[in-house]
């Protein structure tokens, strides 16, 4: 139930962002996707920086997803079994995960205005990590808890240790729900990235000169992948609920 709220939220956010970009681009009276661009030198530089930053975001995004899944498994399968700290940590994550992504976006924008190019990459990365990790951890936790206790018990009763139970049973059984969670998180990260790029674009007068409107096109790509991944996520979730 909670996750479907997240999906609606991310779709709403994406729609908002798309509408925003459409309006903005139209007011400039330029097409979104333009090939054969002519950059002046500074524009080319700024554009290169932007593109490089985007590429560097990919490993950060994947890394934080991987890390989140590992944390979720550690929390559910190990910490929950042994320590009262579990309750506190789980609660903190719930709180972080329920912060609307728009707030992260605003935070990022605020810092963005203050910061230099290098700093802006850092802000972008931090926003994505902060945004992605709590939701991924939480949705993975839900997926792990969703695995039938009897399956675990049956495996333990055969002499599997916890590692084996997790690898052979919990993970495969929770897999599609975990992926659904990842898609939701990615779609939110993409939407925020799109927003941040727009702002970056705004800040760089060099990029706005002439016909260099390649940035909106990358924004469109980001947003459509965001939309796609939230569609995949809701599809996977439906599938996971059926089985």
């Amino acid at each position: 139930m909670k996750r479907s709220v997240l999906i609606y939220q991310s779709i709403a956010l994406i729609t908002l962002a798309v509408a925003f970009i459409l309006l903005w681009s139209f007011s400039k009276g330029t097409p979104f996707v333009e090939s054969g661009l002519t950059f002046d030198e500074t524009a080319a530089d700024s554009y290169a920086v932007l593109q490089e930053n985007l590429y560097r975001m990919v490993p950060i995004l994947l890394g934080s997803i991987f890390f989140s899944i590992a944390i979720a498994f550690y929390l559910e399968e190990w910490l929950a079994q042994t320590s009262w700290i579990y309750g506190i940590v789980a609660q903190q994550i719930t709180i972080l995960a329920s912060i609307p992504s728009l707030l992260y976006g605003l935070l990022a924008l605020y810092f963005f205005v203050l910061q230099s190019e290098k700093g802006s990459f850092f802000t972008h990365a931090l926003t994505v990590v902060l945004l992605v990790m709590p939701i991924t951890i939480q949705s993975t936790q839900m997926a792990i808890r969703g695995v039938d206790i009897s399956v675990r018990e049956a495996a333990f009763a055969l002499g599997a240790n916890r590692w084996r139970v997790v690898i052979d049973h919990v993970f495969p059984n929770a897999f599609s729900t975990i992926v659904a969670g990842i898609c939701t998180a990615i779609s939110r990260a993409l939407a925020i990235s799109a927003l941040i790029i727009v702002v970056y674009f705004w800040r760089e007068p060099a990029l706005q000169s002439g016909d260099t409107f390649n940035v909106p096109s990358s924004v469109i790509v980001l947003l459509s992948s965001a939309l796609l991944s939230s569609v995949i996520s809701s599809f996977l979730e439906k599938k996971a609920n059926l089985t």
């Binding site: 079994q81 399956v151 018990e153 049956a154 333990f156 009763a157 055969l158 002499g159 049973h169």
Partner: protein
Amino acid sequence: MQSRKTDPILQVHNLNVWYGKDQILKNLTFDVLPKQVTAFIGPSNSGKTTLVRCFNRLNDLALNFKLTGQILYKGDKLYTPKLKASKISRQIGMIFQKPIPFHKSIYENVAYSARLRGVKQSTQLDTTVEESLRKAQLWKEVYKDLQASPDILSNGQQQRLCIARALAGAPEILIFDEPCEQLDAAETPKLEAIVQSLKNRYTLIFVTNKRRQAARVSDVAGFLYDGELVEFRQTEQIFTNPKDKRTENYVTGRLG
């Protein structure tokens, strides 16, 4: 019925079990002899499941579980920090109320427990799978569909698959916790026949709340009532000549 002069495989001494503040088992003492069927009977919530889960240390999974007293498996302490629960459960298998096949093929379900104990060679796996399925009297029904999902099997067949899977782990003791509870009536005799055929090779512990079933399958029976082991004797005697009034009420159907 023959009086064997064998060492007990399980010795339970002054066993007390709590879940949180609730005492579930109260001062149980008894021995389980090898290559026999030992049944535990008793009304709902009397602690039968809790008791047998002490043997394979499945209760360790519950955070608020507490145990005092002693359980010896082949003379060695079952509850010591040195001994890993997974090592114990490899030797003490368990069949649950509900059949719980894994999301793997029929073959892989059975091979799973063989792999857990280190069998790697595929020919050896093949023989283990076949032998185990034969012992569980399922081979003839599934040998053509070994790669199929267990979903195609009936409830009763799935339960037999779980028995085969447990056997493939080469356990010494096999615990059945009300294994017929969720099966079709026609499956019950099949399962009881399997229990009889396994008896001379394994030590069997059989939990049931059907008195007749306990009378049919077991050599020794224990009557649990509200966490107490009221009586623990030869099955025949429990049913024909109960010592305790509560046992008498239960076996005659006036209680539980």
